[in-house]
């Protein structure tokens, strides 16, 4: 679901449910029973072991091309969007990758923050 993005079944699910924050959308009420359950495991719904999947994955950043700056868990301490909620709310580019943000410049006077 996270890794095999070229696979046929991933493309089917993407066509059916679409993407949100870089991952497949859960689909809400209209989703199939099976897909809702898969969503529960991924996002940690109610029940035994809730959140045990989501809390235990992280993104190891290489060139930053395939990691969303705000919403992917690529820094220690959770996604940037959660830690700096206010900045995320103000940001006009919520779907920037890490690479794009660094190209804009995240240092002093960088364009990423303007």
């Amino acid at each position: 679901m996270l890794i095999d993005r070229g696979g046929l079944w991933y493309r089917v699910l993407m066509a059916r449910y679409g993407l949100e924050d870089g991952v497949l959308r859960e689909g809400g009420m209209r989703a199939s029973y099976w897909w809702k359950k898969v969503g529960c495991v991924r996002d940690g719904g109610r029940g035994v072991g809730g959140g045990s999947f989501k809390d235990n994955i992280f993104k190891k950043v290489g060139d930053g091309r395939d990691t969303l700056f705000w919403t992917d868990p690529w820094l220690e301490g959770g996604p940037v969007a959660v830690r700096f909620r206010r900045l995320y709310d103000l940001s006009v580019s919520k779907n920037c990758t890490v690479k794009e943000m660094f190209e804009l410049g995240v240092g002093e006077g960088g364009n990423a923050w303007r």
Binding site: V48, S52, K60, G62, D63, F84, L90, K99, F102, N111
Partner: protein, 237 residues
């Protein structure tokens, strides 16, 4: 322009904080981003690692006392009881309430001590049932009752020092005692029969004699000497 321009100090502060966080990050142009599984960063996601995440208590028990459960001179049914006991899988009242089989009001201990009948309560802390651990006096060893079942078993077994015969006998006694406690509890609950603590202690003595004798491990005839000094009868006094 990534963030709409607003001149608030508060946000400036946050940007600064975020910037410091990012100052340590260096992108590696030659490698791709990849997802990692925190519990095993080398080989990735496995069902085993999640199982261990969700059941820490089982693996802990398995580590400390799983070898002590199985004993050549102890009937298998007794070992199986201990196996279930250490995994908290006996149908104690508290467990039945959790499963929705008993009502909340019906979870009190049979001994009338006013406590909830959990595994831990019944076998290591109930002031009535746990009188049976006075069996230590019979073999002449001393020890306190630990409040956790696996720890209790472990500590009890090593009370008599390192001699292998003694060690093995005391291990047998622990298994026998929990067996007697559980059958007594069931007798009380289902047959309305009650044995006095002395009767239960007698049961421990006679049953352990039978089990040891069946394995040809006793060097005396008759139970008189056995009742007086079991360790001597085993040749390890």
């Amino acid at each position: 322009m990534a963030i709409e321009k607003e001149d608030w100090d508060w946000e400036e502060e946050m940007v600064g904080e975020c910037r410091i966080l990012l100052s340590n990050v260096v992108l590696q142009e030659s490698t791709n981003d990849r997802w990692c599984w925190r519990l095993d960063t080398n080989s990735g996601y496995s069902v085993r690692s999640v199982y261990h995440l969700l059941t820490p208590d089982v693996s802990q028990v398995v580590d400390t006392v799983s070898d002590l459960i199985w004993h050549k001179k102890v009937p298998v049914k007794v070992s199986i009881l201990a196996w279930r006991l250490l995994r908290n899988r006996l149908p104690t009242k508290a467990n039945l309430v959790t499963c929705g089989i008993l009502a909340q009001e019906a979870q009190m201990c049979m001994a009338g001590c006013g406590e909830v009948e959990t595994t831990q309560h019944l076998f290591v802390s109930c002031r009535v049932f746990c009188e049976l651990w006075r069996v230590r006096d019979w073999i002449g060893v001393f020890g306190a009752d630990l409040s956790e079942v696996a720890a209790h078993f472990h500590q009890f077994t090593y009370l008599a020092g390192g001699l292998i015969n003694r060690h093995s006998f005391i291990q047998l006694l622990w298994l026998l005692c929990v067996w007697i406690m559980w059958t007594e509890r069931n007798n009380k609950l289902f047959n309305n029969e009650v044995n006095s603590m002395n009767q239960l202690l007698e049961k421990v003595k006679i049953n352990s004699y039978w089990w040891m004798e069946a394995a040809n491990a006793v060097y005396v005839l008759g139970t008189h000497d056995w009742f007086a000094c079991p360790l001597a009868c085993l040749g390890t006094g």
